[in-house]
Symmetry: C2
Subunit: 359 residues, 2 copies
């Protein structure tokens, strides 16, 4: 078949131009005589790829020079355990905002290392909202405040930077990094898996302020010790070289799109019309409070769940795939990251309207 | 330029047919409408890739059914810390054989978790030999005996399975896995980074006997807890999906080559003639005791180190790359993993002979 519209929550669709370039360079990168995946990570060719990767990310996110940028393995999930190991620095508490399934996982894993203060929880709304900041309980003895900037499963996104009352602010941005501007200066640490807005899976980005590096516990594996990896340009061990290259291609594509300010406008255009179509329909419903709706992940339920199966199979017949919602919330979910073209969202909306008319 | 002979120690050369297939399937895998790197790891297409990956590895290595096979992130280096966390199970000691740079790293990282008993060390030979087994001091109170089956930097390889005196035997096989038959039954745990004999970097294979799963400390990150990942088919979090696919292609290529028994014969043929050429030359010298010479990594020094630079640049002019030895041992190193064709070794030998004649 031809390439379809893929609404997967991650790994997710990539720009076709990135795939075409990777395809063209598969057997030989530039004039190197070898594929990127065959290159020594210590060699001159890969050094160029690594340097451009970091400089492009620094440019796109306007990362200040007092922040280290690390490219690790293990996924954001590994960081759930590694952040406390690197940041507690002798403290015994950390604050977490609980806004959905990914916050919950981060909290659970951190509890092996410290007392977790849940500063706020949206559990009582079934994670369809974010508690008002006035109600948050932030313990100033804590080492940091952690939050998940976009909840991939529940479709909830912070539209502003939380006030951490002076604590280092730590954010899992796996599912909305590079989709909107972010003032890195407001953060102690930002981390993200790459498999949504940055490329294939297999790389974890950690952006960490200098003063938070160097305090890892002695049982933190060296390859996950931020200071050690920073000293070694994330090459204390063999990195996932081909994945770095692919992330680099996605960053170049994003620069070609006009950078983050431009892609944000396109993301707003895409998601605004999709939520409007859902809200105006009698069949589809999005349960999330309007101010906290995600631009990246749009969950929606059908008024009659007996129609779910027909919706999914007819969607596939229209070239629209991976629309099934996460099992924990049911219904549907359209993930529309940077690489999902507006035409894909329009095709989805057209199908949804037709399906509503015919069922 | 055209594709060159790449003697990199890792990441390293891959079979051209694997690259060609990956190139062909880059934009669409089979009839899926998407690239492998865009697939949800929970979807039906990737499920097929994952199943074949595990079954092909089980078939090639004849892995018994009472062993779990995990595909993790973080590299073998992460396992240096994760093995004690998973295997100590309340014990306070572990035994290590010290046969080179990689053993040393494994020992250093394990020391954060337990008392390391160095059962034998070849340090006094500058890691050019392996101490006789009769001299090993194995503490039967230890949780396991660890060794590095092939030392990539020093070019030292165990030709037989060490006698662990009843301790679970743990081996870092990063640089010789799949190059020769191995009786998995003799091991408690085998681990390997993929970037030498199995594909690109970014995947870590862990083959672990059932009874050694389930004893991780409570601070072991769940994504690195063997029992948790075994329960979840290594998908507790998003795996490095594209890397799994590429490793799968390399395993299919290996099966097409006749499997491990056949590739071992080819490896013996390649390496025997290369060592013979070195031993017969007046210019080149390999310092490793003959019974312990590696089939995968052939270090050699030139009688006059002032010729090193000329050797490397003239080698490149002959299409022979990445021959510089590791900085810790100097000289040259030819890594000739499974994917290095015999023609590459012959081209290297012809160049070495010519260089010796002309210098």
């Amino acid at each position: 078949m031809s390439r379809i519209y893929n609404f997967s929550a991650g790994p997710s669709t990539l720009p076709e131009s990135v795939l075409l370039q990777a395809q063209q360079e598969m057997l030989e990168w530039h004039d190197s005589g070898m594929s990127v995946m065959e290159m020594s990570h210590r060699g001159k060719h890969f050094a160029l790829i690594a340097e451009e990767l970091e400089s492009d990310l620094r440019e796109l996110l306007a990362i200040p020079s007092n922040y280290k940028v690390l490219f690790l393995q293990g996924g954001a999930s590994a960081q759930f355990s590694l952040i406390p190991q690197n940041l507690l620095n002798g403290k015994t508490k950390a604050c977490y905002l609980n806004t959905g399934a990914w916050s919950e996982k981060a909290i659970k894993d951190a509890q092996a290392f410290c007392e977790v203060v849940v500063s706020a929880s949206a559990e009582n709304t079934k994670f369809t909202s974010i508690p008002d900041a006035a109600s948050w309980v932030i313990d100033t003895e804590a080492a940091y405040l952690h939050y998940t900037s976009n909840e991939t499963i529940h479709g909830v996104e912070f539209q502003n930077i939380p006030d951490s009352k002076g604590l280092p602010l730590v954010s899992d941005m796996s599912s909305n990094i590079l989709s909107r501007p972010v003032d890195v200066n407001q953060y102690g640490l930002i981390y993200a898996g790459t498999q949504k807005n940055m490329g294939p899976s297999g790389v974890t980005i950690v952006i960490v302020r200098d003063d938070l590096c160097g305090n890892a516990t002695k049982t933190t594996p060296p390859v996950f010790n931020y200071a050690e990896q920073a000293k070694n340009q994330s090459m204390l061990n063999t990195p996932a070289t081909y994945n770095w290259y692919l992330v680099g291609l996605v960053l170049k594509w994003l620069k070609g799109q006009g950078g983050i300010a431009a892609i944000e406008q396109r993301n707003i255009t895409k998601v605004t019309k999709l939520y409007q179509a859902i809200d105006e329909s009698a069949l589809y419903h999005n349960p999330v409070a309007i101010p906290y709706r995600s631009r990246m992940n749009v969950p929606f339920i059908l008024a009659d769940e007996n129609l779910d199966k027909a919706f999914l199979s007819e969607a596939e017949a229209h070239g629209l795939y991976e629309l099934k919602g996460h099992r924990s919330v049911g219904g549907m979910r359209a993930s529309i990251y940077n690489a999902m073209p507006e035409a894909g969202v329009e095709a989805l909306m057209a199908f949804m309207a037709e399906f509503e008319r015919t069922h």
